[in-house]
């Protein structure tokens, strides 16, 4: 079982968490002004990378809060986690910290 570091509770077993999709997908401030293509992109299309992925998780059987996580989808290694609402961390800095 993976240990996921919840930014509020610390490392906790994977089974307490739920995955909640890609992070930092911003809804348009004025959806009426968005064309169909861009709206479809916002609703349905995700980056789905092989490698580093910014994603949302919820510590549902713990503090119950949503938070963000940077995970390598190949190795499952988690580079960092941070509370929802915080700025997206710089990937270059994270990679350096992880020694990559």
């Amino acid at each position: 079982m993976l240990l996921i570091p919840c930014p509020h509770c610390g490392p906790r077993p994977e089974i307490e968490f739920r995955y909640a999709g890609e992070a930092h997908v911003a809804r348009a401030a004025d959806p009426g002004a968005v064309n169909d293509q861009d709206w479809a992109e916002y609703l349905y299309f995700r980056s789905n990378p092989k490698g580093i992925h910014f994603e949302r998780w919820r510590h549902v059987s713990g503090c119950a809060r949503f938070f963000n996580c940077v995970r390598d989808t190949v190795s499952d290694k988690i580079l960092t986690t941070y509370p929802a609402g915080e700025k997206k961390p710089d990937l270059g800095t994270l990679m350096k910290e992880a020694g990559r």
Binding site: R12, P13, I15, G62, A64
Partner: protein, 187 residues
């Protein structure tokens, strides 16, 4: 309202006792008043005064005073526990103190119930269904958190080296109790 509707029955009525002499005992707790309180630091400070227990600022901590307890389950969420029958008084006091401070206070005493697990094997019995490291160095006395017991959400609070309080939804009790009873046969 008919008599049967007015009757209050514990979900533990008729459940097989869990007791392994000298090792571990699980026992139901009496009815209690319970609330989920949510709010920021300012709201928590005002609620502490009104409730009579300082709501822990540190997450996953429990505090008790004079029969009342406050468990910090999330960065802005606390479970408040008091004696059965104190509900109305608590609501009135907190709502008055926080009239101008944004917060949420939800009565969950009909939803939740609780039992204790005590004895030298208390930690081992709970480990039969809980994925957390329950050793006292990782889960010290005074720590409280929501977690899982098998497939049920529970709140686990360590009240002593060999004593835990388990808070859970009453509808989960037959499931959780059944697994505990089965696991207790190992001791």
């Amino acid at each position: 309202m008919s008599d049967s509707m007015a009757m209050r029955r514990s979900v533990f009525d008729g459940m097989t006792p869990i007791r392994v002499e000298g090792k571990v005992t699980a026992a139901s707790l009496p009815f209690a008043a319970r609330f989920v309180f949510r709010g920021d630091a300012k709201a928590a400070a005002a609620c502490s005064k009104a409730f009579g227990v300082t709501l822990p600022k540190t997450i996953l901590q429990a505090a008790s005073e004079d029969g009342r307890s406050a468990l910090s389950l999330g960065p802005d969420e606390w479970l408040l526990i008091a004696r059965d029958g104190e509900e109305a008084g608590i609501v009135a006091k907190i709502e008055k103190a926080l009239a101008k401070i944004p917060h949420a206070l939800v009565d969950v005493c009909h939803r939740n119930t609780a039992f204790t697990v005590t004895g030298a094997q208390a930690e081992a019995l709970l480990a039969s269904g809980c994925p957390l490291d329950l050793h006292e160095t990782a889960f010290p006395v005074g720590m409280a958190t929501r977690t899982l017991f098998a497939k049920a959400d529970v709140i686990l609070w360590r009240t002593g080296t060999n004593a835990f309080r388990v808070e859970l939804w009453r509808s989960f009790v037959p499931f959780v109790w059944g697994i505990l009873a089965e696991a207790s046969r190992d001791f």
